[in-house]
């Protein structure tokens, strides 16, 4: 008996003629994500991909954990692949699913026969397997409507696959299938969640972090590394650009009115991020903003920020409450990292009474005190690249 993983890709099946491209991308992503565990062969047929480890000792538990986080997978299951012979199938169902069968009270059998040369028809397979398991596990009874366990038998071209419980996948679209975007990440709770959500829709991520030593510490940057490492479990490898931002922030502090400080800072960040996005061939920016969460995220403030953006800015959290964001950040395990108490670029020089309804005219007037072009150019040029992988 060989053990394999059967992967059902949900939404991908809807993609018509592009399906093959999407599937290939998913397989590439899976192969990359599992590379530390061992080599796998992937076979695609109908809407199922079978992943089989080449190496007998591959860690299946870890494989399952990693696949749970790959976007583009609706559900998957661990399955036994055996010869297409009824006696072998019965014996394997009895042994391979022993734990599931022992812990269930009711069950049913579902069979699929894509190899029409197989002598038994699907209902006949169900009847035979069901009867056999009832004899071997007398505590069970059949319930075809709401069974605690569904035993699946799939007769395919090469093998018969036997599997029990399905594992829910991460859903979404394969990372990269929608292109690439640049995530602005500070170290707080929101930006990693925003990155995760856009990766779920198939965007590959590159990240931009603004560092202002000595106001921010090395630990603050390490915290961003840790956050991205966690996001990368879902999104795949992330290229991080660390932008030196001290001079810009000090000059804003010295030359601009305090009440507009944050909005100007964010406009500067957007300008630098766009240069980096261009360098990375990313077609959009991603931020963790949510309307009204802080003064720089009111509608007029966002309008001032957007005013300098020539590419779309995706804000997946725009209509979410903080507690809704926290729920996701706990689920993707970025929350505990986010709440480490290091000063980040956004909290340096926070004004006491920021303007909540800035106008573009006012902001532009205030910005005249800065050599915007030089600062943006230098910050982008001096950015440092770090490659972040999950495993």
């Amino acid at each position: 008996m060989k053990e394999v993983i059967l992967i059902k890709n949900g939404e991908l099946a809807l993609k018509g003629l592009n399906r093959r491209t999407f599937e290939d991308m998913l397989v590439k992503n899976m192969r990359h994500r599992l590379s530390g565990i061992g080599k796998f062969t992937f076979t695609q047929s109908q809407s199922t991909i079978a992943a089989q480890p080449v190496d007998e000792d591959a860690d299946f538990e870890e494989t399952v954990e990693r696949l749970k986080k790959v976007f583009g997978i609706a559900a998957f299951s661990r399955a036994a692949a055996v010869e297409k012979d009824m006696e072998t199938i019965l014996k394997c169902a009895e042994d391979y699913l022993a734990d599931d069968l022992l812990s269930a009270r009711t069950f049913k059998v579902e069979a699929k026969r894509s190899d029409k040369k197989f002598p038994l028809k699907s209902p006949e397979i169900c009847a035979e397997v069901g009867g056999y398991l009832l004899r071997k596990y007398p505590h069970l009874s059949v319930d075809v409507h709401e069974p605690e366990l569904t035993v699946n038998i799939e007769i395919r071209d090469q093998f018969a696959y036997i599997h029990g419980k399905q594992i829910k996948g991460a859903g979404g679209m394969p990372t990269g299938s929608a292109g690439k975007a640049a995530l602005l990440i500070s170290g707080g709770i929101d930006s990693p969640v925003a990155g995760y959500m856009m990766a779920k829709r198939g965007l590959e991520l590159t990240a931009v972090h603004f560092a202002s030593p000595p106001y921010t510490s090395e630990r603050a940057e390490q915290k961003v590394h840790s956050l991205l490492k966690q996001v990368a479990k879902y999104s795949g490898r992330i290229g991080l650009w660390v932008v030196p931002f001290t001079e810009t922030q000090e000059l804003i502090k010295d030359n601009c009115p305090e009440d507009i400080f944050t909005v100007i800072m964010r406009r500067m960040m957007m300008r630098v991020a766009q240069i980096i996005a261009e360098r990375e061939k990313a077609g959009a920016l991603i931020t963790g903003e949510s309307v009204g969460q802080v003064a720089s995220q009111t509608m007029p403030a966002i309008a001032c920020t957007d005013n300098v953006c020539k590419i779309p800015v995706f804000r997946p959290l725009i209509g979410m409450d903080k507690d809704e964001v926290v729920i996701i950040s706990r689920r993707i395990e970025t929350f505990d990292i986010s709440i480490l108490p290091y000063e980040d670029c956004c909290t340096v020089f926070t004004p006491k009474h920021p303007r909540t309804r800035p106008t573009i005219d006012y902001v532009e007037e205030c910005e005249k005190a800065l050599d915007v072009d030089r600062l943006v150019k230098e910050a982008a040029e001096n950015a440092r690249f770090v490659s972040i992988s999950a495993y």
Partner: protein, 377 residues
């Protein structure tokens, strides 16, 4: 230039400690409980370390029990004493500025039905002795108090604890967390009326992972770990010989605390007089603090940028206790200092290896940082 001013967090291991640990790992790796020669060699080293530490506390070697460090010793002392004494009463008296390994443990006991009194401190980081006498009643079973505060260096009137217990006719045991004091000032638990005392190795240039609890002869507490007969069953488990050997060697290498104190007081006074010349600097430590610890605030300059600024120049200071990194200092908050001071506290802590050159370097860097770092309003 590198200058390390975070000796209240941990100290660099001294050459003697490193040598002793090497020796223990190479020559005395046996199990001290084994009866053969290999075991005996380890046992001898274990007892030598115990004697060296006892000598520093002017106590008997059999009053020293090795643990994994300050936190474990504090936990063992407080919970062990509470469990031993609970039939006499439920009240435990402590202070509001204890280390988390005392404070959190007391909160745990509070959940179990003990009554915890945390005495307030004044702006010098000290409790009022009258409050202490008022808080201790006949149902009090434990008084636990640190000798030197880890953030501001204030010295607590620990000797009054026994007197307060006697005045209230209470059977209370007296525990003293002396982690920040051991090796830095003359300490004799019996003279202080202390029954239990916590000390730690890595604050006196020994290795991490080892500490001790002094338990006065005749005093009983309940163990928290069960197993073999090591450490008189108070703390069973095979002894961490290399670390204990390092601890013993570090204790032997300690200079005469009186002379040491004079020297470090001179260094502290020199530093403080120069720091006070820098715009915005205020000293949070009381004048009679242990000179090894000096807590300052720079009004208008936050701790974190200053800390990073100094770190870039090879200078290590901290913004508070390493055990609660990043959080606002609970000690300064309890001292009821001006809110402006809480924004930018820095803890500068010396060791016996601190030099005048290092202090000059620090003063210059703080003055430079004060000018360069943009101020808060």
């Amino acid at each position: 230039m590198e200058a390390y001013f975070d000796n209240s967090a941990t100290t660099a291991p001294c050459a003697e400690a490193i040598e002793a640990m090497n020796f223990a790992l190479r020559e005395c790796w046996g199990n001290p409980s084994s009866l053969h020669r290999t075991g005996n060699k380890a046992k001898e080293l274990l007892e030598l370390s115990r004697e060296s530490i006892a000598k520093r506390l002017s106590c008997y070697p059999e009053e020293i029990f090795f643990t994994s460090g300050g936190t474990e010793s504090n936990n063992l002392a407080v919970i062990g004493a509470a469990n031993q004494m609970k039939r006499f009463g439920k009240r435990i008296v402590s202070t509001s500025i204890e280390h988390p390994s005392i404070d959190e443990t007391l909160s745990r006991l509070e959940e179990d039905g003990f009554e915890i009194i945390r005495l307030k401190v004044d702006s010098h980081g000290k409790i009022n002795e009258k409050d202490l006498f008022a808080a201790v009643n006949s149902n009090t079973i434990l008084i636990t108090m640190m000798l030197v505060n880890n953030e501001v260096g204030s010295i607590m009137p620990i000797a009054s604890a026994k007197r307060a217990a006697m005045a209230a006719r209470s059977p209370a045991l007296i525990h003293c967390d002396a982690v920040q004091a051991f090796g830095k000032m003359p300490i004799k638990p019996s003279a202080l009326g202390v029954d239990l005392m916590t000390i730690s190795s890595h604050k006196i240039h020994g290795p991490k992972g080892v500490g001790a609890l002094y338990i006065r002869k005749g005093v009983k507490i309940k163990p928290r770990t069960f197993g073999g007969a090591q450490e008189m069953k108070i703390r069973p488990g095979t002894e961490a010989m290399p670390a204990i050997a390092g601890f013993g060697a570090a204790a032997r290498a300690l200079p005469d605390p009186k002379k040491e104190l004079e020297h470090v007081t001179m260094l502290r006074d020199y530093m403080v007089s120069h720091l006070e010349d820098i715009d915005g600097v205020v000293i949070n430590s009381p004048e009679d603090a242990l000179p090894f610890v000096t807590n300052i605030s720079i009004i208008g300059t936050k701790s974190e940028p200053m800390l990073n600024f100094l770190s870039e120049r090879g200078i290590s200071v901290s913004s508070g206790s390493a055990c609660s990194k990043g959080k606002k200092s609970h000690v300064l908050a309890k001292m009821d200092l001006d809110a402006k001071r809480l924004e930018g506290p820095l803890r500068i802590s010396f060791s016996r290896f601190t030099t005048l050159d290092e202090i000059d370097y620090l003063i210059t860097a703080i003055a430079e940082g004060r000018k360069k770092i943009r101020q808060t309003k």
